[in-house]
């Protein structure tokens, strides 16, 4: 996914346009499903330590500072940035590079949301700090062919995760054992991180991390299956019934499928993201569940996924005004708590295309059942 020189050129251009002396792209080493990984996007560095940053000067100098010191070698191999420094005293080393790069007047700070007070204050003491997440968001808006290939690769891995979910969902297996098998299938296929939430029972309230609970005949097993490759998340929301599903469950799931398909019809460039939520909520509301479409029961009907940007955002609800754009990756999920059936998982990740959208997964979004 190396696009380093182009990213650097665009970043320097943005600095000049804004009259900034430099840019700090910071990461606390956390990786969140609902936030972009700016440092990873820009530098291809997957941080290990608690403080890491890339620094760019308006003259085009660039350096990568990582903790712990011994992780510099790995990052010098994977990052396009040639100057990689390991650090045992992040704040001191960060300020030294700022001095070296003559970042003394004003500095754009990307990822400041994660920065602790001690480091932020130290930077603020040396230069006027301007929040600059949008510089990377803007660069990331245009996806490269390699990024799109990674999106599709990750989607294929999500399918494998679902296959394992279906194969191993059986009476007697514990939730954490089921998740272990799903994780194994996806890591073996190349996922470098896994996000799975799950729940099992006759009436689920939410998805959570796996417990000791053993699956039983009659259980509704729900899962958010989300492999991550090179910072790209792709999600499938699936429901499997152990045994023959009741007519009531089939009826309610069909209603969610209708909501899902109505929602997908709104997905195209230029359409407000909120339209997909409204379409979904209309179907569910028309079925008599309006109050269950909104907090405290439900809120987000989807969100964006991406490495450098999660546009159109971390929450797509009825009020999301921002327009969808080509090549955005969004999960559309009418996951829903219903009083008769409990929480049901339904949905998948799609790519916004020039004409509408492309479903990324091969497995069908439907209610699955297994003979017990």
């Amino acid at each position: 996914m190396s696009n380093g020189n182009l990213n650097l050129r665009k970043a320097v251009e943005a600095l000049r346009q804004r009259g900034l002396d430099g840019l700090i792209i910071y990461s606390s080493g956390t990786c969140s499903i609902l936030h972009a990984s700016y440092l990873h996007y820009f530098s291809e560095c997957k941080p290990l330590g608690p403080h890491n940053a890339a620094l760019v000067s308006k003259a085009g100098d660039v350096a990568l500072l990582v903790e712990p010191p011994w992780d510099a070698l790995r990052n010098s191999r994977i990052s396009w940035i040639s100057e990689v420094r390991g650090s045992a005293d992040f704040t001191k080393d960060l300020l030294a590079i700022m001095r070296q790069f003559k970042i003394t007047g004003s500095v754009g700070l990307v990822g400041s949301r994660e920065m602790t007070i001690n480091i932020y204050s130290a930077v603020e003491h040396k230069a006027s700090v301007v929040s600059a997440d949008d510089i990377i968001e803007e660069i990331a808006r245009e996806k490269t062919p390699d990024e799109l290939e990674n999106v599709k690769k990750t989607a294929r891995i999500a399918d494998l995760g679902f296959n394992a979910f279906l194969e191993h969902s059986r009476a007697g297996i514990r939730e954490y054992e089921l998740v272990a098998e799903m994780e194994y299938a996806m890591r073996r296929a190349g996922a470098d991180d896994i996000f799975i939430l799950i729940s099992s029972g006759e009436h689920n309230y939410e998805m959570h991390e796996p417990t000791d609970r053993r699956l039983r005949k009659g259980d509704i097993v729900i899962g958010e299956i989300t492999p991550i490759c090179e910072g790209q998340f792709i999600q499938l929301c699936r429901t499997v019934v152990l045994g023959k599903p009741s007519p009531l469950l089939v009826e309610k799931y069909d209603m969610l499928l209708k909501a899902f398909h109505e929602s997908l019809k709104t997905v195209r460039p230029g359409s407000p993201a909120g339209a997909l939520s409204q379409a979904m909520n209309k179907v569910i509301s028309d079925a008599g569940y309006a109050e269950y479409c909104y907090p405290p029961y439900m809120r987000a009907r989807g969100h964006g996924f991406g490495v450098g940007s999660i546009a159109p955002g971390a929450v797509i609800d009825d009020d999301t005004k921002v327009d969808l754009q080509e090549n955005q990756v969004i999960v559309v999920h009418p996951n829903q708590y219903l009083p008769e059936t409990g929480y049901l998982a339904c949905g998948e990740t799609v790519l916004v295309t020039q004409d509408g959208m492309e479903r990324l997964s091969e497995t069908e979004t439907r209610l699955y059942s297994k003979e017990v």
């Binding site: 606390s28 080493g29 956390t30 990786c31 969140s32 499903i33 997957k46 941080p47 290990l48 330590g49 608690p50 903790e67 712990p68 010191p69 011994w70 992780d71 070698l73 790995r74 400041s112 949301r113 994660e114 920065m115 602790t116 007070i117 001690n118 480091i119 932020y120 204050s121 514990r174 939730e175 954490y176 054992e177 998740v179 272990a180 098998e181 994780e183 194994y184 890591r187 073996r188 190349g190 470098d192 991180d193 896994i194 996000f195 799975i196 939430l197 309230y205 939410e206 959570h208 991390e209 796996p210 417990t211 000791d212 991550i228 998340f233 907090p295 405290p296 029961y297 809120r299 708590y337």
Partner: protein
């Protein structure tokens, strides 16, 4: 050891009150309050964020951070503690199964919610102890909370909890023993398994599976090939594990919040991981571990370890240090360095590491989790082959 944080802890998340009963937390709270009283604190605010250092809030509440978001426990000198977590109210029923604290408040911003709580309880002009906030809370939240605390007397109380956490109770040692069992199990598996398609991704996936099936809540893996010109521990890559290659595996596993870690050096032979004959290094590790005694200064122990290595003619790879405390976090005090002021104490749990230069293998790394007992160190993760046996 610093390792990459996952986006979510996807392993078994269970609070087993047989292993860690509520009485254990009540005892901790009593001890914390005794120290609060000594320092004249009306309330303690304990904050954690992320998966690598969420031990402080977990120590008080047993609540495990599920996503990399903030958690804050407000512990008043008198009255019930409150747990704030950043997440939706839908997460409340599950959160209740993992903590003894009954007043749990999901929210969008723990700093704002905590400020509101302090105001509602007339604590805005009290004496407040802060744990974890300066080092972990994002600056915007810290500033908004600091604004709410401007009439308070604020005391940096990190060391207060640090001192308590450094020496483990019997139940904590037992939990670390359980996580050590997972680490041992995985290394036993590696030493006996024939892994098809010997590449790092496949080995990593197999390790994760074994650890998860054994109940690991969180797992961290680093590999290294010391046969390369330049090498360091690193994340697994999509690379072939070659016949004859030296292969170093760092593994940490958490069980019901508590971590254990170990490192092993293997040589790949006939498609499986063999432990090379490392009698001298093995004897050296044992001698160093034998130097661990309650009452000895950490700095003195560290000096003795360096001397042992020099006397044996080994070259020390110093970047990884000798390790340090382990428990609710992978990296806890005391750090085993020549400048650490604390003494070794009975009940401390440590990850003891040794990284050595080796002409034939390129490098040797070994590490074990241990508990400091009255008689010395008991290695909890040692079982594979000959290396690292106590």
């Amino acid at each position: 050891m610093e390792t990459r944080q996952p986006s979510l802890r996807i392993g078994r998340n269970v609070w087993d009150p047989i292993n860690m009963p509520e009485a254990e937390f009540q005892q901790r709270v009593r001890e914390i309050r005794r120290k609060m009283k000594q320092r004249g604190l009306d309330i303690l605010l304990v904050y954690s964020n992320g998966f690598n250092d969420c031990g402080n809030t977990c120590y008080v509440s047993n609540y495990g951070i599920r996503l990399p978001r903030g958690v804050l426990v407000a512990l008043p000198l008198n009255g019930e503690p409150v747990l704030f977590f950043e997440g939706s109210s839908r997460g409340l029923p599950f959160a209740k199964t993992t903590t003894w604290i009954s007043d749990i408040r999901p929210c969008g911003d723990v700093a704002k919610e905590c400020a509101k709580y302090l105001s509602e309880n007339n604590l805005v002009s009290s004496s407040i102890g802060l744990v974890g906030l300066k080092h972990q809370m994002p600056h915007r939240q810290f500033r908004s909370l600091a604004e709410a605390l401007k009439e308070c007397t604020v005391d940096d109380a990190d060391s207060m909890l640090q001192d308590l956490r450094m020496v483990k109770s019997q139940r904590e040692c037992d939990q670390i023993r359980r996580s050590s069992r997972i680490v041992k199990h995985v290394f036993d598996f590696l030493a006996n398994a024939a892994i098809p398609h010997m590449n790092e991704t496949a080995v990593e996936a197999a390790i994760y599976r074994e650890a998860r099936l054994a109940g690991a809540e969180d797992v961290r893996i680093l590999f290294s090939n010391p046969g390369e010109d330049q090498w360091a521990l690193r994340l697994p890559e999509d690379a072939t594990v070659a016949e004859g290659q030296t292969f170093i595996v760092y593994l940490a596993a958490a069980f019901e919040r508590y971590w254990a870690e170990a490192i092993r050096t293997f040589v790949v032979q006939n498609g499986s991981f063999e432990e090379p004959e490392l009698e001298n290094a093995e004897a050296l590790f044992k001698r160093i571990a034998d130097e661990i005694k309650p009452g000895k200064a950490v700095s003195q122990f560290c000096g003795e370890a360096i001397k042992e290595i020099q006397e044996d003619g080994f070259g020390l790879i110093s970047e990884y240090g000798f390790g340090g405390g382990i428990g609710l976090s992978l990296n806890e005090p005391p750090a085993i360095t020549q400048v650490h002021a604390n003494d070794l104490k009975e009940g401390m749990c440590l990850a003891l590491r040794l990284a050595l230069k080796d002409k034939s293998l390129g490098g040797i790394m070994t590490a074990n989790t241990l508990v400091v007992k009255r008689s010395g160190a008991e290695l909890l993760t040692a079982s594979v082959g000959t290396l690292n046996k106590p």
